[in-house]
Point group: C2
């Protein structure tokens, strides 16, 4: 079984001085700066449905969500390992193909794995990154007066999932995977370059939008000891404000900067999409006041509830 993973990866040549698959552990050059280390789990029936997307999609997404964690620290992803369980007969080559496409996209190396039979497909990817002199950007660094930005419009992923489900319900209306909303759900793209550049630009705090804008901005606000007034909700074409606020799984980055920084121009100057200004940090409320507000009221968390 591990031979299949080795076979799938055998075209990759380790960096000089590194040893990847085939020993008890991979041997890697040490991180430049600080090391970053994260893990994310995707489970069939909870995080994905193989009637709505392919195993290749699952492989791709399982690494992208991890790259997104490194991006949200302002770091550079370098290496990943995967722990996989699957029922006998599962076409794991498709899964590896998606994993490797994502790894190649980000220039990181898949250096190890463990595979086993199991009652459903699960993929647990652990990722290593490095700060290489810039950052890390924590969730806790925002100050009152900081401006809050988002790297892109939100709600596509949740809208894509809704469209896929509707397409399943009506077999007469098959869903094209060329649909950008469906693609946002099945094949999200972690904002690796954007996160790194935000760190270089002096972002004070950062988080990725996995659980929904209001929840994730709320984490940033709570860790920083501020409140965030949303002044603008960036709704993706085809999505709704509700999905943009609470849909989750967009994997855009939300970050804060000191006021007065020309963030949009700086991103454009790097050939990156201009971030969208979405709000501002103010004093945290006394007592149980809302940490994230929209149009003067507590922002709705939205429908996305993490399964556990």
């Amino acid at each position: 079984m591990l031979a299949r993973l080795r076979g799938a990866l055998s075209t990759r040549v380790p960096r000089r001085g590194e040893v990847h698959l085939g020993d008890d552990a991979a041997v890697l050059r040490p991180a430049r700066g600080k090391a970053l280390f994260a893990v994310d789990v995707l489970i069939e029936g909870v995080h994905f449905d193989l009637l709505l997307g392919s195993l290749e999609d699952v492989g791709w997404k399982s690494l992208e969500v991890n790259v997104s964690d490194i991006a949200a620290m302002g770091g550079i992803p370098t290496h990943a390992v995967c722990g996989v369980g699957a029922p006998p007969g599962t076409p794991l080559d498709d899964l590896f193909s998606g994993l490797m496409a994502s790894a190649d996209h980000h220039g990181l190396a898949l250096v190890g794995g463990d595979l086993s039979v199991g009652p459903a497909v699960f993929v647990s990817v652990a990722i290593l990154g490095e700060t290489a002199g810039t950052g890390p950007v924590l969730r806790s660094g925002a100050s009152v007066g900081d401006v809050v930005w988002c790297t892109g419009a939100l709600g596509s992923s949740a809208a894509g999932l809704a469209r896929l489900r509707a397409g399943r319900a009506e077999a007469s209306a098959p869903v094209s995977t060329g649909d950008p909303l469906v693609r946002a759900y099945l094949r999200p793209s972690a904002r690796a370059r954007e996160g790194r550049f935000a760190a270089e630009l002096g972002a004070t705090a950062m988080i990725d939008v996995s659980d929904g804008l209001v929840r994730d901005a709320g984490h940033l606000a709570a860790e920083s000891g501020v409140a965030i007034d949303l002044e603008h909700v960036p709704v993706a074409p085809g999505a709704t404000e509700e999905l943009a606020l609470g849909g989750g799984e967009d994997y855009e980055l939300v970050f804060s900067t000191p006021a007065g920084l020309d963030v949009e121009e700086a991103f454009a100057g790097e050939g990156l999409q201009r971030p969208i200004r979405i709000g501002r940090c103010r004093e945290a409320p006394e007592g149980h006041g809302a940490l994230v507000t929209l149009r003067g009221a507590p922002a709705p968390l939205g429908g996305w509830v993490h399964p556990l």
Copy 2:
């Protein structure tokens, strides 16, 4: 859900300059020397049976098998993350308790995790280690004439599993978890100090015994391009030679050294159990000859077959 893991770990203070749970990724000092990175998966019904052992045992073992991978490289384990899936209502605090007991035992930090509902319990632990100037010891460095050692007697784990299963079959004969064989199966101890010391002593190749002595010695022989003649099979009290050769999950280390090195005395001088000399490396056979031989014949692989 993640709050439970955070709560369980909140008594731990990160090393200076590190950030553990609570951000998108953990922030760690870089590895000293080379970094080592491995992952191992344990799945309910495949790798463990909750009728035979506790979730605390599973937590302990899931980290020990990873520490064993770092030990087999001659490295020092430093940090781990866990990806966990479990049916609703699973007492995950027990799992975390076992994980943390193992982490404390080895002085490593559990720095992150992701948890989700799932159809069965699975635990995917990824571990980081460092070579810190010594090693790594790969599987591939053994030479003809090298002496082969094992850090302890073998077969306990498989004998313990057999005893547990027999105990289940006869409810009248409950099994004590004080039984050293049962303990070897449920609570294996990775040979972290031994692996490190073997590296310092100049071990030429090393592997841990997870799939059984003959299989794992065979991996070492194949990667090194040698054959191994087993001269002595170290059978644990209560086990059989068959279980020692093929039982698996012993997590002792097998390593090779140049001939003439007083390995037993050196280990004893460090306060470590004396390794057992088990064989010698010779020329690899022509064609399809056996890589591991015992008493002049191909050594039997034994009954342990990896589930996939």
